[in-house]
């Protein structure tokens, strides 16, 4: 992979008291592998359940217990690597990261320090303005999650829940290629989308199944990288953005006051909107990494990797390109539609055999708007793709106007039913019968001689007549026909 250097983008600089600053961000994403069993034990990975319910003897680090690698977790890591267009390392090794903590039963975490299963790759990130950029992936490795310490059940004791202990995580390490909180949010959003497409991580940040350690530093444009601070365990995309903003500001203030940044680990407090020091470099653990003697090197056959490659789903980037090519969508619309696989599938069911643009417009503006209002998404939509497709067809056939389409959609959304039948039953058909429109127009002209005089002097007044005629026709008059007739009758 060629090392690309992102040029400084003036738009993304942060203005300080003494000039502009560039923020540089790299991220370590911890993504919980979607699998039935833990990384080195047969215990369930199901979320919830009473504390210490999904704990095997291995997870509790009972004496004499040994880890045995879970094949499916390995496959998921490889799939993810392929999805990140990354180097798959056919030989990787597991190391022990040693430290004491009550929710770390073994006294060490099994991780991949020296030889990770996945090497360099990349993620193409799309921004809202249609711009896209590449974030380099340095590596992806497999590791065990720790358990959970619970401190609020007793004034004098802490409790430990080992349900998470030993669950497989993928740590995905990016290069410091991000230059704003917006970019960081877009990167995590895109990475999450890829993981969800692959089915290798559900991306559920509320459950902690996707967390980020965010490395932030600032520098004057063009200067070498500044000292970074690592913000640990940020668990929402919004907080990722906020933590970067406040951390960059904090660092800029220190530097502008003539101070220096201490390399340290910090925590983001969303309540106070600040980051706080967790431990300094001096207090950093010496993890005493060494190869785990209980596990042999993980050696993959090229056939195994090829087999997984052959069954990868279409990923967001390819899907976006196809939507642009096949349905004539704008890059922006295509990005919106491919962000979630379910959404893209829904759109395709609507768009198949129709005008893609019209389908996209309706899905994005009407369907998504309505679902958002109710806090729903396409998987919980009360309107099926076939119903949306029928509405789009009715518009294309000129049976209903786009305004009526909105009303019809609302009826389908709240009451259900076949849009074609509803159009008939509720008399929503567009009036294209010029005779009927002429009759309405004649009546309005006759009833409003003052307005006729005004429109003759000022043709933009025509809109008033259009409105009146539409109102009189219950919105069903064909707008083009109405316009033509009005102009002809008024002689303008």
């Amino acid at each position: 992979m060629t090392v690309h250097v992102r040029p400084t983008d003036a738009k993304k600089l942060i203005r300080g008291a003494t000039g502009d600053w560039e923020v540089v961000i790299g991220m370590e994403i911890h993504a919980q592998v979607s699998s039935n069993a833990k990384l080195f034990s047969g215990a369930s990975t199901a979320f919830g359940g009473p504390p210490n319910d999904h704990v095997s003897l291995v997870d509790a680090a009972m004496p004499g217990m040994l880890p045995v690698i879970n094949r499916e977790c390995v496959a998921q890591a490889v799939r993810t690597g392929l999805g990140l267009k990354a180097q798959i390392n056919l030989r990787s090794t597991f190391d022990r990261k040693n430290y004491f903590y009550p929710d770390l039963p073994q006294g060490y975490q099994i991780s991949q320090f020296k030889s990770p299963i996945v090497g360099e790759g990349e993620v193409i990130v799309d921004l809202l303005d249609g711009e896209s950029f590449v974030v380099g992936i340095e590596r992806l490795h497999l590791e065990q999650d720790a358990g959970k310490s619970i401190h609020d059940l007793s004034p004098s004791l802490s409790f430990v829940d080992l349900n998470r202990s030993g669950v497989a995580l993928m740590e995905i390490v990016s290069r410091p290629d991000l230059r704003s909180s917006e970019e960081a949010r877009a990167y995590v959003t895109k990475l999450r989308s890829i993981l969800r497409y692959l089915g290798t991580c559900d991306g559920d940040m509320e459950k902690g199944n996707l967390r980020a350690d965010v490395n932030v530093s600032v520098r004057r444009p063009g200067e070498p990288l500044g000292t970074r601070c690592e913000i640990k365990n940020v668990n929402s995309i919004r907080f990722i953005g906020q933590s970067i903003e406040v951390e960059a500001r904090r660092q800029i203030e220190i530097l502008e006051d003539g101070g220096v940044i201490d390399q340290e680990t910090r925590l983001f407090d969303p309540g106070k909107g600040e980051t706080r020091s967790m431990r300094s470099k001096e207090e950093a653990h010496d993890y005493r990494y060494f190869p785990d003697p209980d596990l042999l090197p993980l050696v993959l056959h090229a056939d195994f990797v090829e087999g997984l490659k052959g069954h990868l789903p279409e990923l967001p980037d390819e899907k976006k390109a196809r939507f642009i090519a096949d349905y004539g969508l704008s890059p922006y619309d295509a990005s919106v539609l491919v962000a979630e696989r379910d959404t893209a599938d829904y759109f395709e069911q609507v768009a198949k055999g129709r005008d893609g643009k019209a389908a996209a417009n309706f899905v994005i503006n009407e369907l998504f708007g309505r679902l958002n209002k109710d806090g729903k998404d396409v998987t919980t939509s009360p309107v099926a793709p076939a119903q949306v497709a029928a509405i789009v067809d009715l518009m294309a056939e000129g049976v209903i106007s786009s305004k009526i389409a909105k009303d019809l959609f609302e009826i389908v959304y709240t009451e259900g039913g076949d849009p074609r039948v509803l159009v008939e039953e509720r008399g929503l058909k567009q009036v294209t019968d010029t005779g009927a429109i002429e009759k309405v127009v004649d009546e309005i002209i006759a009833a409003n001689p003052d307005k006729v005089a005004q429109v003759l002097a000022k043709p933009t007044m025509l809109g008033w007549f259009v409105g009146q005629a539409m109102k009189a026709s219950g919105g069903k008059a064909n707008p083009q026909a109405l316009n033509d007739i009005l102009k002809r009758k008024l002689g303008i």
């Binding site: 003897l57 509790a60 680090a61 009972m62 004496p63 004499g64 217990m65 040994l66 880890p67 045995v68 690698i69 022990r96 040693n98 004491f100 009550p102 039963p105 073994q106 006294g107 060490y108 802490s158 430990v160 010496d286 005493r288 990494y289 060494f290 003697p293 209980d294 596990l295 042999l296």
Partner: protein
């Protein structure tokens, strides 16, 4: 008639099969011998009731023709093996009264074949030691004593309880573990046969870990044939241990008594260390002659990196131990000494729970893995390990079938004689045995002579990976020539 507990395992198997005595009778003989031998401190837990119940079941299976390969044979278990429902301590205070809800694979295989569990055998704390003096349960006393000297002698370590119990007729055979010589050295000290098989031959599942890349289970027995019988049932692939090897287990008994004609035996010149006890050197030469007499060809070989083995071992083993023993933190099981906060609880628990030798090795291991020292110590030791393995590969490539060497640099020493000295003096006990663990090879210790003070001495045979059969054939030649080494005086019976 010989007391039932003094029969060899092979003889006892025969007696049970022919109905000469029952498994209950055999077990009762051991149970009473154990009760009379508490002075030796070989057992840390006797499970007489369980043993008699298992023996009664064995008698039923023998009667119904469903006997397993070890049916009714009473076995002692080193306390490094987790035994379901039976307290397991690793010879340490830190495990407290830990009762595992699971069984180690090796012992499960023994019970599946009908063996009877007599109890748990003493060992150096977490198998760290060469004299069984580091056990939280106190030292094991060897059934052997120097001629005209009542001073207690160590049985060796770390499997001192296993060695002493087998030698003193307190079990028909025993399990041991060997990380740097913990089977072969105590076998040599007690006139018993002990084999450490190839790394990966026996499952480590359920064995309390000392140094995972070196630990291997193996049997102690009173004869080569007995050891062959036991290893067959202990060995085998286990999907629960990623380092166990999926390879068929041969019937090792077939190899006992097989001809060794044409076998090439290497005598490594680097094992002729300065200050080697002359009586050990003499026994070594005698052993070579016995093998020559049996038709083997004895050649001089070189294992050039031998001198680096001991330092490398005392880096790799403590490094792994420092990590393996991190789980004993007072949080989930075993000892907990409360403190003001979790940090203090950790410190107090571990300071109280671990003995000085274990603490020393944790400190050494932590040190050699720390930032700035890792490359100089751990990485270098791993390189040495590769070179030691290569030394053996090279001689095997020259057609050498097995290497013959002493098992120990000296006969057994007295309790307390070395335990207060420089720890390195104790570490030197492992000088002939650690290479085998570092290279992952099989090694057997077989009694071959007496010291001038009438203590047994052992020879060690080192084989190619997974060629334990060759070792059994060669060891039998030595046993035939040297004779057996039964303890004559059961002085401990009051």
């Amino acid at each position: 008639m010989t007391a039932l507990n003094q029969l060899t395992l092979t003889e006892a198997r025969e007696g049970l099969a022919t109905g000469e005595f029952t498994a209950v009778e055999l077990t009762e003989a051991y149970v009473s011998a154990m009760a009379e031998a508490r002075t030796l401190n070989a057992y840390v837990l006797e499970t007489a009731d369980k043993a008699l119940a298992m023996a009664a079941e064995s008698d039923k299976r023998i009667a119904s023709g469903d006997a397993g390969k070890l049916e009714g044979l009473p076995i002692g278990v080193k306390d490094m093996f987790c035994t379901e429902g039976v307290r397991t301590t690793a010879g340490s205070k830190i495990l407290g009264n830990f009762v595992p809800p699971y069984e180690s694979t090796v012992t499960a295989q023994l019970w599946r074949e009908g063996a009877v569990m007599l109890g748990k055998l003493n060992n150096d704390e977490f198998a760290m030691g060469s004299s069984n003096e580091t056990s939280a349960f106190g030292p094991v006393v060897s059934p052997w004593r120097r001629e005209n000297d009542k001073a207690p002698i160590v049985p060796g370590g770390s499997s001192g309880g296993s060695a002493a119990a087998v030698a003193a007729y307190l079990c028909a055979g025993a399990t041991g573990t060997d990380t740097g010589g913990s089977i072969r050295q105590p076998a040599a000290f007690t006139g018993t046969v002990g084999i450490k098989p190839t790394y990966g031959r026996c499952s480590r599942f359920g064995i309390i870990a000392y140094a995972s890349s070196l630990d291997q289970a193996g049997p102690f027995a009173r004869t080569v044939n007995d050891a062959a019988i036991l290893l067959r049932s202990m060995a085998g692939y286990d999907p629960k241990d990623s380092t166990s090897v999926n390879r068929a287990v041969p019937d090792y008994e077939d190899a006992v008594g097989a001809s060794v004609k044409g076998k090439r035996i290497g005598i490594p010149r680097e094992y002729r260390v300065e200050g080697l006890d002359p009586e050990i050197a003499g026994m070594w030469e005698e052993g070579a002659q016995w093998l020559r007499d049996a038709g083997a060809e004895v050649v001089d070989i070189s294992l050039p990196h031998t001198k680096y083995a001991l330092p490398a071992y005392y880096i790799v083993a403590p490094a792994e131990a420092s990590s393996n023993l991190a789980r004993y933190d007072g949080v989930r099981y075993g000892l907990r000494v409360p403190g003001r906060d979790v940090q203090e609880m950790y410190e107090r628990t571990r300071a109280t729970g671990f003995g000085p030798e274990v603490r020393r090795r944790i400190m050494i291991g932590t040190y050699v893995l720390s930032a700035g020292y890792y490359d100089a110590y751990y990485v270098k030791a791993q390189k040495v390990r590769t070179l030691i393995k290569r030394d053996f590969d090279d001689v095997f490539a020259l057609g050498v079938d097995a290497v013959l060497a002493p098992a120990t640099p000296s006969p057994a020493f007295g309790i307390g004689e070395k335990s207060h000295a420089d720890p390195v003096e104790m570490y030197l006990q492992d000088i002939f045995t650690v290479t085998v663990n570092l290279a992952g090879l099989p090694g057997i210790s077989v009694p071959a002579g007496f010291s001038c003070k009438n203590l047994p001495l052992g020879l060690q045979l080192i084989g190619r990976p997974f060629e334990e059969e060759t070792l059994f054939s060669l060891a039998q030649v030595i046993e035939d020539a040297a004779g057996r080494f039964p303890v004559e005086d059961t002085w401990w019976v009051e």
